[in-house]
Amino acid sequence: MADEITPQPVDELTTDLLARFPGAVQPAPAPWQGLIVTRDRLVEVAIHLRDALGYRYLSSVTGVDYPAATDGLPPRFEAVYHFYRPTGGPLVLHVHADRADPTIPSLTPVFPSAGFQEREAWDLMGIRFDGHPDLRRILLWEGFDGHPLRKDYHEAYYEEDKKPFESRFPDGHPVRAEERVPLGNNLRYPPGWSPREWRPVADVWGYAPHDEVAQQKSPTHPADRLVLNMGPHHPSTHGVLRLLVTVEGETIQKIEPVMGFLHRCHDKIGERNTWLANMPYTDRLDYVCSMTNNLAYAVAMEKLLSVEVPERAEYIRVIMSEFTRFMNHTVSIGFTGNDVGIYFTAMLYALEERERILDLFEMVSGSRMMCNYMRFGGVAHDMTDQALTLARQLAFERLPRFVDKLDDFLTDNEIFRARTVGVGVLPADVAVAYGCTGPLLRASGVPYDIRRAEPYSIYDQFDFDVVTGENGDVYDRYLVRIGEMRQSLRILQQALDRLPGGPVISSKPKATLKAPAGESYGRIECPKGELGFYLVSDGGTNPYRYHVRSPSFVNLAVMDTMCRGHLIADVVMILASIDITLGEVDR
């Protein structure tokens, strides 16, 4: 994302857009942000944003359902786009679609990063994106009936639209969800339906897109092409992921991640919950780094609520985030080693350091992995002296020693280099177009880090470098992670030395909190990339819309680009180098 365009204030930009696209663009009425664009000119506006104004990075695409008229706008489906420049943004575009037949032109041909996210919006919200090259369900299976994020969709065991449920107090008598299974202990089928006679109505296994590639014959290779399932579960057990691979001999011709095995409709759960109750659920997104998930949600909520965070809390947040980053990268490198075939040596050493950091988290928050530590306007508990001592010992003594050791025995290791150098190359322009973030993007030579580009919390007060790679291969991603671990330690040492006193939360958290009507998009640089929370409030105690833009999910889209021409054994390496967590991919 080299920036050759001089940034201009958004207001001027709005007037410029209004003049350039008269009638097609209008400012969104308060409390909404950004612009409303008509459907027919959306692609034109997007191209103008990308080419003339430098908004080359489409961060998030999602949908919102408004079954009733609000704020003078008719009942509608809305697609919401968040565009960014290397330094600046967001520019929010709202596109309205008819509720009876929601169709919006697809931005995938212009911004490939919209590809997966539009599929998700189609899958969960039922907005059809015209011109999308591959508009299929992505998280749910093809035979699924309905679109669960629509407001009129009721899930199994539906109780009420909003928590807290009425039946709990003051005269709650417990009913266990299992006891409400309509089928009892037995499985019964609807009348006239038999599994033996059932034939899939659609391409439920997802083989169709591979047909064309699979039927081609190679002039050089004698054998037929083969469509192969890797997983669900195997791809070196980073989680339950299925990779659909077309191979010629052992060379990858086409690869496609099939996901959703851990899908629990996090967004729908989030809409049922109260604002605060979503915090522990964010722990479960990327279960390796729950602290940063908490932080991202807190940042988004604080934007919505306009809450100030005390300085000590900001420092503690930074300390926790950087420990999380360090931990995530050790685990990532350890598992990369595992996938290379070093087996458990590197991984166990990584896990050992991780245990120390988890000890710290447990001491501070009460839980090792599901920390639930951040609150709106601060953190839940102060760090005790014991925890601070441990943090200092880790940041100043043990972890620097560990990075050096890891660097020493892995970086120049001949086997490791032979397996990683030149494998899975991702060119910088492709990485930007596909919306990749995190070490994956920086290893391709793009110095984009949200801690620098749009500093949140107090990251503007620390000295650290944005580590980048040159070649964009698996090896460079490894080097970037090693570099980022060192930078994290730098930040940690500064933060621990300067940790001020004072309160850790601006006001005691309230059980039922009302957020002012409006929308907010909070994003942070989580260890895997950009983690964003898009929140819409209607002024009530529960989110009206709650969407997670997860880095693992978006980053997976470049699998095909990186894997083509490589061997099956390399696929596992490349997957490990993206560093995904399936809890976050599937949500």
């Binding site: 107090f169 008598h173 522990p280 447990e362 025995f409």
Partner: protein, 191 residues
């Protein structure tokens, strides 16, 4: 030969680790005798920041000490709950059910629960109930080994099963308990 030097170096790391484990064993042998490594005094040092060698804790024979803030499952502190319902409202998975008692004389709601249920099978151990409770009546305990063969229904705990004496709370949460008492006495002094 030079081409694989770094691989050998990596092997060296493993070997060093292997030797260190035995050295650590020997060190504790001279201090504490046979099996000295597995005595309670050794655990914090082995697990500490300067620990070397093997990392394994021989669970369940050995157990790591739980920090005070550790969030196990919630328990009720004896005679403190006033059935205000805050915990039931804030609970993210909605696993708390409370029936408020009625005063037999007046027929009005009383300040105590007649029933209190928590379904530990769906409790996510977030600790909001303990954090929000205005009367310090519900706390996160340190019990974690509640697995059972009878499955789901056995995790629906009622008031009897959930209640623990104040002494238990004071024992596992010494700092928090001291703070509570200090606050209480300050309030009483004011009055």
């Amino acid at each position: 030969m030079t081409a694989s030097l770094h691989v050998l170096k990596a092997f060296g790391v493993t070997i060093r680790r292997f030797v260190e484990s035995y050295l650590d064993d020997l060190k504790w042998f001279f201090k504490k005798g046979f099996g000295g490594r597995y005595t309670p005094e050794a655990l914090p040092i082995r697990q500490g920041v300067h620990g070397r060698g093997i990392f394994t804790v021989q669970y369940p024979a050995e157990r790591l000490p739980l920090p005070e803030r550790f969030r196990g499952f919630p328990f009720l502190v004896e005679n403190r709950c006033v059935a205000c319902g805050t915990c039931a409202r804030v609970c993210p998975p909605q696993c708390i059910w409370i029936v408020r008692a009625t005063d037999p004389d007046t027929g009005k709601p009383a300040r105590r629960p007649s029933e209190f249920h928590i379904d530990l099978g769906i409790c996510m151990q977030c600790g909001f109930c303990a954090e929000m409770c205005p009367f310090d009546a519900i706390k996160m305990g340190h019990e974690i080994e509640i697995a059972s063969f009878s499955g789901g229904a056995s995790f629906l705990w009622d008031r009897e099963k959930l209640t623990r004496p104040v002494a238990y709370h004071a024992q596992i949460h010494p700092t928090a308990y001291a703070e509570e008492q200090a606050k209480k006495s300050a309030k009483e002094a004011k009055e």
